[in-house]
């Protein structure tokens, strides 16, 4: 089965390749950097640092892979959703649903693997170039550094397999198409509304409530000075976080609906709001990565800021010591944020691509709206509102979660040494995230909506079959 029967060509899978490439490059940088640090540690006699680094790097890479998987599933699903009529026609002509789905899956896997490999090559090259510069400047000692570690192949393979699996999950829509749809005049099939789920809901509630209780308990325990607080906080965050991932399809659309009400009741707002949640799974997938990414960034920034505030309040430290501690913590923030920001980048890429694709797929609807009296401005503002309802909600939710997790984490570490609960509010980071979110909303909305209104309504409405 030729791939391009369902998908138009490699361009359709551009997002898959780009996301896989980013993920591969990121993993390669982390793996190569740890192998450098390991070499440094070996040169100076210590050995244990390497294991810890490998564990930390693995965790971060897995988070990035997870976010990439969500984004790839969504990218494939969106492309397939735009080609349901074509799929229906192929089915009518005798193609088997499974075979078509298999071709989509293989294409996604191939593009993902190639993207990850290219990204990894770039990541290794960039890290080594950086090392050469640092050694030349004398920042790093001269030593026998490896180019990279053989382990770099692992994330490439993992990303490739993930893209394959994500292609399979994302192409589920192909099986829902009946050959008869090729002949029906209805434009798009109704999106699946019932999202399976009493069990999912139950698990979500248990994990979420349990996590919240654990977190509250950890704060209280730590206030008493017990070291068990950190373990409790870790367990609580893990439980609440898992609950959110499992239940994202309930939580996120509900939040988007609530946020959408702020937009008001004008026709552009109402259509924007409805479109934002027309397909709950797509809504969830296109914003979940943003929630995860922003939560990670904010958690670290907020946690460190809470520690800083705590340090600031400790009067028994000398001024010099305090300044030094704060400088170390600031550097830590920068490094941590730089390491975890990748999830936000990957999900932003995914968000822009989903928005553009869905706007392009809706050109007939937009032509109809223009015929009925929507001005070009109203169409652009409608798409921007949809983008804002989605990305704005995700980012705001991530910020809230991050501040909660970060402050609770800091509390569990140093709660005993501070008076009451210390909120970590890293304003520069929060401001930067909000500004980036605004940029994302506009970048995702304006180019496709401008393209959509540049087409005359007659052309947009023309029946193409």
């Amino acid at each position: 089965m030729r791939r391009d029967l369902v998908l138009g060509g490699w361009r359709d899978l551009g997002t898959v390749g780009l996301v896989a490439g980013l993920c591969g490059a990121y993993a390669a940088v982390l793996v190569t950097a740890s192998s450098l640090l390991q070499a440094l540690a070996d040169a100076s006699g210590g050995g244990a640092a390497g294991v810890l680094l490998a564990v930390v790097a693995t965790v971060f890479v897995l988070v990035a892979v997870y976010v990439s998987a969500v984004v790839i599933v969504n990218a494939v699903d969106t492309v397939v959703a735009g080609r349901l009529r074509q799929v229906a026609l192929l089915r009518l002509l005798g193609a088997r649903g499974r075979a078509l789905r298999g071709s989509v899956m293989r294409a996604s896997g191939v593009v993902g693997t190639v993207g990850a490999a290219l990204g990894a090559v770039l990541g290794v090259a960039a890290t080594d170039a950086f090392r050469v510069v640092l050694v030349a400047r004398g920042t790093l000692p001269r030593a026998d550094y490896p180019v990279t570690s053989p382990w770099v192949l692992a994330p490439v393979a993992v990303v490739g397999v993930t893209a394959l699996a994500a292609g399979w999950v994302g192409s589920r829509g192909v099986l829902r198409v009946s050959p008869a749809q090729a002949m029906s005049s209805a434009e798009a099939a109704a999106p699946p509304t019932s999202v399976s789920g009493r069990w999912r809901l139950l698990v979500t509630a248990l994990l979420g409530v349990g996590g919240a209780l654990l977190l509250a308990l950890s704060a209280a325990v730590a206030e008493g000075g017990s070291a068990a607080g950190f373990l409790l906080a870790f367990a609580g965050s893990a439980s609440a976080g898992t609950g959110l991932l499992v239940g994202a399809r309930f939580v996120i659309p509900a939040l988007v609906v609530a946020a959408g009400r702020i937009l008001g009741g004008s026709p552009p707002s109402r259509i924007a709001r409805r479109t934002a949640v027309a397909d709950r799974l797509r809504t969830t997938r296109s914003t979940m990565g943003l929630v995860i990414g922003v939560t990670l960034v904010t958690t670290f920034a907020s946690g460190v800021r809470a520690l800083q505030t705590a340090v600031h309040s400790w009067s028994d430290l000398g001024a010099g010591q305090r300044a030094q501690a704060e400088a170390v913590l600031t550097t830590t923030t920068v490094i941590l944020v730089a390491i975890v920001v990748i999830s936000s980048v990957i999900s932003a890429v995914g968000f822009v691509s989903t928005m553009s694709l869905t706007v392009i797929q809706r050109r007939r609807e937009i032509g109809l709206l223009r015929a009925l009296g929507f001005t070009a401005r109203q169409v652009r503002s409608m798409v921007a509102r949809e983008s804002a309802a989605l990305a704005g909600t995700a980012v705001a939710f991530g910020l809230v979660l991050g501040v909660l997790f970060g402050s609770l984490g800091a509390q569990s570490l140093v709660g005993g040494q501070t008076d009451g609960f210390v909120w970590g509010l890293p304003w520069p980071v929060l401001g930067a995230v909000a500004a980036a979110a605004l940029g994302l909303v506009l970048v995702a909305a304006l180019p496709p909506s401008r393209r959509a209104v540049s087409v005359a309504p007659v052309d947009a409405l023309r029946v193409e079959r």
Binding site: E187, R274, G373
Partner: protein, 268 residues
């Protein structure tokens, strides 16, 4: 033109606005619409001059590719003429920019297309009310009553809160007609509104359009290939190669079929 000009009160004036503001909802003055350039040039409308009077049901017929859709799109301000003047409700569409034409469409035109008529994320009732909201008009009790009346007479009351994806093709088409009629526009433009319907649904739709003309004085301009559909109209315009080649009053289906055949033979 092979047939006598239609019996409208004023013959084409040099400056149409004085006349069009009063007698014609839509006035074409030497309207040309070209597609493509050079050797690939297609003249979809060729110097068309015609008036559409208010309160009447006008059918537009003609062979495939004769320019019917182009005629409707230009009349509705969806498409720009290459040359000539188009007046709608006294406004010069040819002289307006995109936003200006959008506002004329919004305030004065009701649309029924052959397919894909409804906004997929709005319920049937919301689709019907959309033109009111777009025009910033209050949805008064009177409007609600009118809309309910329309939905009832179209057999859609128990379907009013459904999304278009849950409606059959004929039901979607009827919702579109309710929307076009609900805002009481200057003219309803319908391009093959019964093209996708079975005989019974299409008879219902035509009866409804006819009733809107008779009961409310609605102006309707409709493209159709079906002589039976055209027999509901007060006036039948026939296009061929971008020109109006026939212009008749009310005719029986058989007469219309004969007319079309004669014209095709004459053209061949």
């Amino acid at each position: 033109m092979p047939t006598a000009p239609h019996q409208h009160p004023s013959s084409a004036p040099a400056r149409p606005d004085a006349a069009t503001g009063r007698d014609a909802v839509i006035a074409f003055r030497g309207v040309t619409r070209d597609y493509g350039e050079g050797t690939g040039l297609v003249r979809a409308l060729d110097a068309v001059t015609v008036d559409v009077e208010p309160g009447r049901f006008t059918a537009v017929m003609g062979p495939s590719g004769s320019g019917k859709s182009t005629f409707m799109n230009v009349a509705a301000g969806l498409d720009d003429p290459t040359g000539g003047e188009v007046w709608l409700a006294g406004r010069p569409l040819h002289a307006l920019d995109d936003d200006g034409r959008t506002l004329v469409r919004r305030d004065h035109v009701g649309f029924v297309f052959q397919a894909f008529n409804l906004v997929p994320t709005l319920t049937a009732r919301e689709n019907v009310l959309l033109p009111f909201e777009l025009a910033g008009r209050r949805v008064t009790a009177e409007v609600r009553e009118r809309v309910d009346g329309l939905l009832t007479s179209l057999g859609l009351v128990d379907r009013a809160e459904h999304l278009p994806s849950a409606l059959s093709g004929g039901q979607q088409q009827r919702v579109a007609i309710a929307r076009a009629l609900a805002s009481d526009p200057q003219v309803v433009i319908a391009d093959e509104p019964t093209g996708n319907l079975d005989t019974r649904s299409s008879r219902e739709v035509l009866a409804l359009l006819r009733a809107a003309v008779d009961d409310y004085g609605q102006t309707i301009l409709m493209v159709t290939h079906d002589p039976v559909a055209a027999s509901h109209a007060d006036r039948i315009l026939v296009l061929a190669d971008g020109r109006v080649v026939a212009d008749h009053g009310r005719l029986q289906p058989a007469e219309i079929a004969d007319l079309l055949v004669t014209l095709e033979v004459g053209a061949a």
